[in-house]
């Protein structure tokens, strides 16, 4: 398997976060010489799919914006990266903020927006600085402002820091937050393409999606389609974390397998075996060693019963208690549920209570049934996907590791030593 650094190609070079270190915005220059509709068509033809989790075709999203409607249009970049396990957008923006700004110029021009926002989570101070500096630099160089690269097109970009709320990664909650409200999802329709920010047509794209656009404009659709599969074209960042010898960002064509990625990354940490993993964050059902050869693209992972999500490959070896892992994720969803929809707000709260009991070894078989019943009553019954995501770790872990739940109440406690799973475990416990 060949790694294919494109987004990450300049991360090791000298000061890649500066305009000098980045390059000349070649993709944006090409786009600005084209008709906006032709830019949209190019991105449609590339087959680029949204890298924020859902995999919706980016060009189609742009094409939904009504033109000639007399309303202002907006581009909003979703840089609120907070899905557990996901750690790709933050390194993109830290090392290479200009690729994002170039993508913003191209996307905004295509959808006829004169105002774009980068909604970045607040808990990443230096990333915010790099974005602020890059935007300032772009204004000073005439890349942003009243006459973008001499084209006559005007674009203003605002870097907007969030304030700590996972739900704001959900696009309509993000819009409410950007309008100065509590971040709670909106009922759809109307979709943001029709009534988004300030009830105007709005495109919301993930950082990696937007950052993929400049290369497509610069090097062309055919080049982009030499990577990946027919239905999932292109390259992407796979983020390996956890019990792996060399955690990190691995940029490769869509459709590679976890086995291939682990081969490159030195495998599961020495002396240990893969137990379970997430293909794309905690909201995607867990998979096991039997799924090592499933292509990591949108279709194949879906057929395997999970979702590609954000390609956040969290690797857990046999020292990890799956009940502890699932409890912690469920606590996360309970904490982050915005409270708008009853099934999610109440369901996540009660599932935490049940999982705490199970992990402590005082649960029983009825608890498993109750958990699955609660999941049934949450899935598909709330405004947004947070509640759906909360059910994924529970249903998938019961599917693959029901014995481990049983072992907890049979033994009257957790059979695992948490120390053995840590990065700093001793050799006898199994360090890397």
């Amino acid at each position: 398997m060949r790694l294919t650094p494109v987004l990450s190609a300049n991360w090791g070079s000298d000061r890649p976060w500066t305009l000098d270190g980045y390059g000349d915005y070649a993709g944006a220059r090409k786009a600005l010489a084209m008709d906006p509709d032709a830019v949209i068509q190019t991105v449609k033809d590339s087959g680029l799919r949204g890298r924020g989790g859902a995999g919706f075709p980016t060009g189609n999203k742009w094409g939904f914006i009504p033109q000639g409607d007399g309303k202002p249009h907006y581009l909003v970049v979703n840089a609120d990266e907070s899905e557990p396990g996901t750690c790709k957008d933050i390194p993109i923006m830290l090392a290479n903020p200009h690729v994002l700004i170039e993508g913003v110029v191209i996307a905004s021009y295509a959808i006829r927006a004169n105002h774009a926002f980068i909604y970045v989570r607040g808990e990443v101070l230096h990333v915010v600085r790099r974005l602020q500096a890059a935007v300032q630099e772009a204004y000073a160089a005439g890349i942003l402002g009243g006459n973008v690269l001499g084209s006559g097109y005007a674009l203003d970009v605002v870097v907007h820091a969030g304030a700590g709320a996972y739900i704001c990664g959900e696009e309509t909650a993000l819009l409410d937050s950007l309008e100065g409200y509590r971040g709670q999802p909106r009922l759809r329709p109307p979709f943001p393409a029709v009534a988004g920010l300030y009830a105007s047509p709005t495109v919301i794209n993930n950082v990696e999606s937007i950052a993929s656009v400049p290369a497509i404009l610069d090097k062309g659709v055919e080049w982009f389609r030499t990577f990946g599969t027919e239905k999932s074209p292109g390259f992407t960042l796979y983020s390996l974390s956890g019990h792996v010898t060399r955690p990190g960002q691995y940029e490769a064509p869509l459709g590679v397998t976890l086995r291939e990625l682990l081969d490159v990354a030195g495998g599961v940490r020495e002396g240990h075996q893969l137990k379970f993993w997430t293909p794309g964050g905690s909201s995607t059902p867990i998979l096991t060693a039997e799924h090592l050869d499933v292509p990591l693209d949108y279709e194949a992972i879906g057929e395997a019963g999970s979702m590609l999500g954000t390609k956040a490959l969290q690797i857990f070896d046999e020292t990890t208690c799956v009940v502890r892992a699932v409890l912690r994720w469920t606590e996360f969803y309970a904490h982050e549920s915005c409270g708008k929809c009853t099934p999610c707000r109440e369901g996540t709260y009660w599932m935490v209570q049940i999982l705490q009991r199970l992990e402590a070894g005082s649960g029983d078989a009825q608890d498993i049934d109750t958990l699955l019943d609660a999941c049934d009553n949450i899935l598909g019954r709330s405004f947004c996907a947070l509640g759906d995501g909360a059910t994924s770790p529970i249903t998938s872990s019961v599917q693959y590791f029901k014995d481990e739940y049983v072992a907890h109440w049979e033994q009257g406690g957790c059979p695992f030593d948490p120390t053995a799973a840590t990065l700093f475990a001793t050799a006898t416990q199994g360090a890397r």
Partner: protein
């Protein structure tokens, strides 16, 4: 008296950045924290006055977001990720060690000297560096209980600490909040482009090239 003319000028600058004034509410609340250290009742009143909202409307927003604090935090606010992956990799042990070492308990609890506060946080998008600790929202990667204790000792003693991926030194909580409000502090050129895990795939791609 808080909210002097310079702060009011900053508030006007923030509001002018947006097509609709209310969009400046989150930045204004960060600005309040940069002045007051946390979201004080006076700060809520300030935001309400700037935007023509009621205090109830501002309070409803402020209490929704975990980065807005309702009580003072330390000059250095320490966040330990205890979401699943970091917890398993040692975040739970790091958090337990810091609670004991600092003698604090409960979310956002502050040491007696007011220097350090402690919070267990959710995923901070640095999973390839687990377990992760944040200080005033700068990254301290691959922590152990020992390294984290040494870190907070330095913070309490006033010894400068350097993030693993970030500026050359950690600024104060209030200084960080001013940047988050939207006022750049000129420090983007400090620090590296990326840490070793970020560059792992790129390094191995180079090795693959070399074997052709």
């Amino acid at each position: 008296m808080p909210f002097d003319e310079q702060t009011r000028e900053r508030a006007r600058t923030l509001i002018a950045r947006y097509p609709k004034p209310r969009s400046a509410l989150l930045p204004l609340l960060h600005l309040v924290q940069s002045e007051e250290g946390y979201v004080t009742p006076a700060g809520i009143g300030f935001c309400a006055e700037q935007l023509g909202l009621t205090k109830a409307e501002v309070g409803a927003v402020a209490t929704f977001y975990t980065m807005y604090k309702r009580r003072p935090v330390g000059d250095y606010h320490v966040g330990v990720c205890t979401n699943t992956l970091c917890a398993v990799m040692g975040g739970d042990a790091v958090y337990a060690a810091l609670k004991e070492h600092l003698g604090v308990d409960g979310q956002n609890a502050v040491t007696d000297d007011g220097r350090v506060s402690l919070e267990h946080i959710e995923c901070n998008a640095a999973c390839d560096y687990a377990p992760v600790v944040m200080v005033n929202w700068e990254f301290f990667d691959n922590q152990t209980p020992e390294s984290a204790k040494a870190l907070v000792d330095d913070l309490r003693a006033g010894t400068a600490v350097k993030p693993t991926r970030g500026a050359d030194s950690v600024c104060t909580w209030r200084e960080a909040e001013r940047v988050l409000a939207g006022f750049y502090d000129g420090r983007a050129d400090e620090g590296a482009a990326a840490g070793p895990a970020t560059l792992e795939g790129l390094r191995l791609a180079g090795q693959q090239e070399g074997t052709d």
